[in-house]
Amino acid sequence: MKRIVLLIIGIVFGIIMYKSEAASWFRIYEMFRFESIHMYGIMGVAVGFGILFVQLIKRFNIKSVDGEPIKIAPKEKSFTRYMVGGIIFGLGWALVGACPGPIFVMIGAGFVPMLIVFIGALIGTYIYGVLRDKLPH
């Protein structure tokens, strides 16, 4: 049952990504040129309501459907990994105009060459795993 719910959430998320145009290279390119409010509006509204929802969970101790307390694991404190990793990610995001979610959404939409991006992302993830102990975090 839970799996069906998760599948539906994924489907709805994919439709949102497509219809919001957040999965389009053109919108990402436009965003980095500061020529439209579109992407900033999407992220601003998402984070605004996101903060509200997270605060609701915390204030009212809302439990998950399993009856467990909802905990959002804090990220470890660091600067280097977030800044350097973030910059590397940003370079790729702007180059192909897709972040991990939209990569999958665009494969579903039928853009076969996005599979090359997907394979690249898998290799990149693997390289990180191999080099992890040698990288500053």
Binding site: W25, E30, A46, F89, G92, F104
Partner: protein, 184 residues
């Protein structure tokens, strides 16, 4: 029902993205797409040689179901809820496309990069593969991507996520303003 078929305004989309995260939290899960890439590496056997991939991927397999849904959602969005037209970007952005060799009359994604006819040349493959490499490496190094850091992390007011998002933008601005003229 007409509104379903038009591009959705940003204030609706932004709200729905936050709602997606909220529902996942209520299910005891989290909203993060890039960790699936690690899970997929593990399934491919990467855990045998590298400890980073040696984890109980079955505990994270729920997220693969979400991603499978996202693929289906992309199919539905493209085939049943739109005509695949190019986003209505600003005039200034449109006018700048020419210098990149990208047509102003295009599809949802630029045909120059994402059509089967044009992908069979080394430069395009290098761009797509290189972009993917940067995304995969960067997102794991930073510990999350746009969904995990920019939406989930900022919603939880986490400082590391703010640093990561600032990094995302530094990288993106360097790419579009400094490297695009060299690449395209």
């Amino acid at each position: 029902m007409d509104f379903l078929f038009k591009p959705w305004p940003w204030y609706i989309s932004g709200f729905l993205i936050a709602l997606t995260m909220f529902v996942l939290l209520l299910l005891g899960k989290k909203f993060g797409m890039s960790s699936n890439l690690r899970t997929m590496c593990t399934i491919c056997g990467a855990g045998k040689k590298t400890s980073f991939f040696n984890f109980d991927w079955k505990a994270d397999s729920w997220n693969l179901i979400v991603v499978l849904g996202a693929v289906i959602g992309g199919y539905i969005g493209a085939h049943f809820l739109s005509d695949g037209s190019m986003p209505d970007i600003s005039e200034a952005t449109r006018a700048s496309l020419d210098s990149l060799g990208i047509s102003e009359n295009n599809a949802y994604l630029p045909q120059e990069l994402f059509s089967l006819d044009n992908v069979m040349n080394l430069k395009t493959i290098a761009i797509l593969l290189g972009g993917g490499l940067l995304i995969g490496f960067g997102t794991r190094y930073a510990g999350g991507c746009t969904s995990g850091h920019a939406i989930s992390g900022l919603s939880n007011l986490q400082l590391p996520s703010l640093i990561a998002v600032i990094g995302f933008f530094i990288g993106g601005l360097i790419m579009v303003h400094l490297l695009y003229p060299l690449i395209f």
